[in-house]
């Protein structure tokens, strides 16, 4: 599969999947470079899981072309399965088997010899800190432990390409940080990772991102590129009365969205020309309020991209 190292790990053209009348994925053009952590950012139901399942060959596309690791999918899906790992959204290993038994089973499915199996299991126990848990039943593990086991199973065959579908949804913040350290370790050793998430802080860590909304690709690039390219300005309103200030801004020309974050208000506006009218409107509620331009973050990018698409849809 590495006969063409320059080619993208994943390439899709016009990828579409319909479930009856619902278009879950709509003409998606993707190009995922090798050796990177590539993020799929989007709300629930935006088509992230459906796309991943089509890329693995688990679902047939309604339309479009897929090439993964230079294989034609779904035609060569069975060959692909030797070279990918897939960590499903919900825990999909056997709860009534121990950690060791689960991994042993997966190792045998991939045809590892007895000696190689023992060696690989020891490596995984170390890397994913499962040594002490090896005889414990998977069903009795905590969220974070279970996730480490799932990842260990997904990378057992040393895949070139690893799919992770919302891997950290059931995990505490410390486990999430540790988990991402492991993901970067995998990327460093040459694995391509495709991670779907709806957490902004996770998206921020990815090398590249695709923002999906209602099955469509609304923005794509590295987090920095996305921020630079954004055609909007973010304002930070510091006030004692954030809720009233938010109401005051309702319907003001140039204001795209408003979100309260603690005692501050984050206002997304079209451009800097909106700064003065926003300041004026806010001070009618709270004369002491501070209103200033602030750095754009990924959430702003996400909101701007999805809002633009929503408006575009309404205009049609």
């Amino acid at each position: 599969m590495s006969d063409n190292p320059g080619s993208p790990a994943i390439q899709t053209r016009g990828l579409t999947r319909r479930f009856g009348d619902l278009v879950a994925v709509d003409h998606l053009d993707l190009s995922v470079p090798r050796g990177q952590v590539y993020g799929f950012l989007g709300p629930n139901g935006c088509g992230k899981s459906t796309t991943i399942r089509m890329l693995c060959g688990l679902l047939l596309p309604s339309d479009g072309d897929i090439r993964v690791l230079d294989l034609d999918i779904p035609r060569q899906a069975e060959t692909l399965k030797q070279h990918i790992g897939y960590m499903t959204q919900s825990f999909s290993l056997y709860r009534d088997l121990s950690v060791r038994e689960n991994l042993e089973f997966v190792a045998r499915l991939f045809g590892l010899s007895r000696a190689r199996r023992r060696q690989r299991l020891d490596e995984l126990f170390q890397t994913y800190r499962l040594e002490a848990l090896s005889e414990q039943l998977a069903g009795t593990l905590s969220g974070g432990q279970r996730q480490r086991l799932a990842l260990a199973a997904a990378v057992l065959n040393e895949p070139e390409l690893l799919f992770l579908d919302e891997p950290t949804s059931a995990v505490d913040p410390q486990s999430r940080r540790d988990f991402w350290d492991v993901l970067f370790g995998l990327a460093d050793s040459g694995t391509t990772l495709l991670v779907s998430t709806h957490y902004m802080d996770e998206a921020e860590r990815c090398h590249r991102l695709a923002i999906l909304q209602q099955g469509e690709l609304v923005a794509e690039g590295s987090p920095d590129q996305l921020k630079q390219r954004m055609e909007a300005v973010s304002l930070l309103v510091e006030t004692d009365r954030p809720r009233r200030a938010q109401h005051a801004l309702d319907g003001l020309e140039g204001v795209r969205s408003c979100a309260q974050i603690g005692a501050t208000l984050r206002v997304l506006v079209d451009d800097e020309a909106a700064l003065a009218p926003v300041r004026q409107r806010v001070r009618t509620v709270d004369p002491d309020a501070g209103v200033n331009v602030t750095d754009v973050n990924l959430e702003d990018v996400f909101v701007a991209a999805t809002l633009a698409r929503a408006r575009h849809g309404e205009a049609q």
Binding site: R53, Q82, G85, L93, E101
Partner: protein, 368 residues
């Protein structure tokens, strides 16, 4: 498809066995169902009638009438619980359901014995067929001969019914061979019907289909452990049947096991097929029971095959249990071997091949 790998198949088999080892309930069912069914059909569900609640109206009050009543009591068909003085009182008891039978000894009993008139009258609860049947048997009772001092055995019946192969007409003898099939149907179909759906319900399937495991490997891997379990159950029923009810195996034991093996595979194939159609474990259970009922009712296990209407007979020929009941009765009771029963074996084989092929084609390697 990457072809078939015995190594992956074995991986699934060992995984199944490990899970089974931890599943106490299934474990208990494997042993519990055969024992329970054997005792149930062997002791409780008995077509031989004994101890029917009865009343006796003795209007003759002679030593001979008491002698006859006592003799009937000894036969244990009736338990004379009441001795009302009038027929009216007795009928009230019958209507209330307290008794099933009234024996009337008329006042002119002694006189009737010397004429052609029937000396005794039996009034039975005709709403119960079993009771009617028992009463008819009793009408053969040789009252006159008995009272004339003749020996009671052999009974002076006009028509002698000679039961071949089960001379004492003991129910367990007839029941146990078919019961092996009933128990295997019950457990094999149910366990495997649940097997594949469980993987889907627990989300295991989504992971499995991203591995190189093929649907044939998965399906066969799930079936193989149950073949061993089925043979263990067969042995258990045979052993207990021998120890408790003295049920013989007159034909070759190896042939019996071979027949059981083919029947087990047919039942497993049916279970796997169900598993590929249903959406949840609950539906799997329902579907298993749905296939179980016609098998138990139409196979000839409970009711004679010959007594069924033609279309029911044709339908029954499709059911695996029909063929196994013939095989097991043939081998165990008539001492037949497989060479004379090969059409039944062929029918089971065809059923297995068809069901298993359809099932493997239906086990999807995709989610849609």
């Amino acid at each position: 498809m990457i072809g078939f790998s015995p190594r992956r198949l074995w991986a699934v088999v060992t995984k199944e066995l490990r899970q089974l080892k931890r599943d106490r309930l299934t474990y208990a069912m494997i042993v519990g169902i055969p024992i329970m069914q054997l005792l149930l059909f062997g002791y409780a569900i008995n077509m031989d009638v004994r101890h029917l609640p009865a009343a006796v109206v003795d209007q003759a009050h002679s030593s001979r009438s008491r002698q006859v009543i006592d003799e009937l009591h000894q036969a244990r068909v009736f338990d004379f619980l009441h001795a009302p003085t009038t027929a009216d009182q007795a009928q009230r008891l019958l209507r209330a359901g307290d008794i099933k039978v009234i024996l009337v000894v008329p006042a002119d009993f002694e006189h009737r014995l010397t004429t052609d008139q029937p000396p005794l009258q039996l009034i039975v609860d005709g709403s119960d067929q079993v009771v009617q049947q028992a009463a008819r048997q009793l009408s053969q009772f040789p009252v006159r001969a008995y009272l004339n001092g003749q020996s009671l055995s052999p009974p002076a019946a006009q028509v002698a019914v000679v039961a071949y192969y089960n001379p004492d007409r003991e129910a367990p003898l007839n029941t146990v061979p078919g019961l092996i099939g009933v128990i295997l149907t019950m457990t094999m179909v149910m366990f495997t019907a649940i097997a594949l759906v469980r993987e889907r319900e627990h989300g295991n399937q989504e992971f499995l289909i991203t591995t190189p495991l093929s649907s044939a490997e998965l399906t066969l891997g799930k079936v193989l452990p149950f073949i061993a379990i089925g043979l263990i159950q067969t042995s258990l029923v045979l052993l207990l049947g021998k120890l408790i009810f003295q049920v013989p195996v007159r034909g070759p034991l190896l042939d019996l096991y071979l027949a059981a093996l083919v029947f087990i595979v047919a039942s497993l194939a049916l279970g796997i097929l169900i598993s590929t159609v249903v959406r949840s474990q609950f539906q799997a259970m329902q579907a298993a029971i749905f296939t179980f009922l016609p098998q138990i009712l139409l196979s000839g296990f409970m009711f004679p095959f010959e007594g069924m209407p033609r279309p029911a007979q044709w339908f029954a020929e499709i059911l695996p249990l029909t063929h196994f009941v013939r095989l097991s009765r043939g081998i165990m009771l008539r001492g037949a071997d497989l060479s004379s029963l090969w059409p039944e074996l062929l029918a089971l084989t065809v059923f297995s091949v068809v069901a298993l092929s359809v099932a493997i084609l239906r086990v999807n390697k995709r989610l849609d």
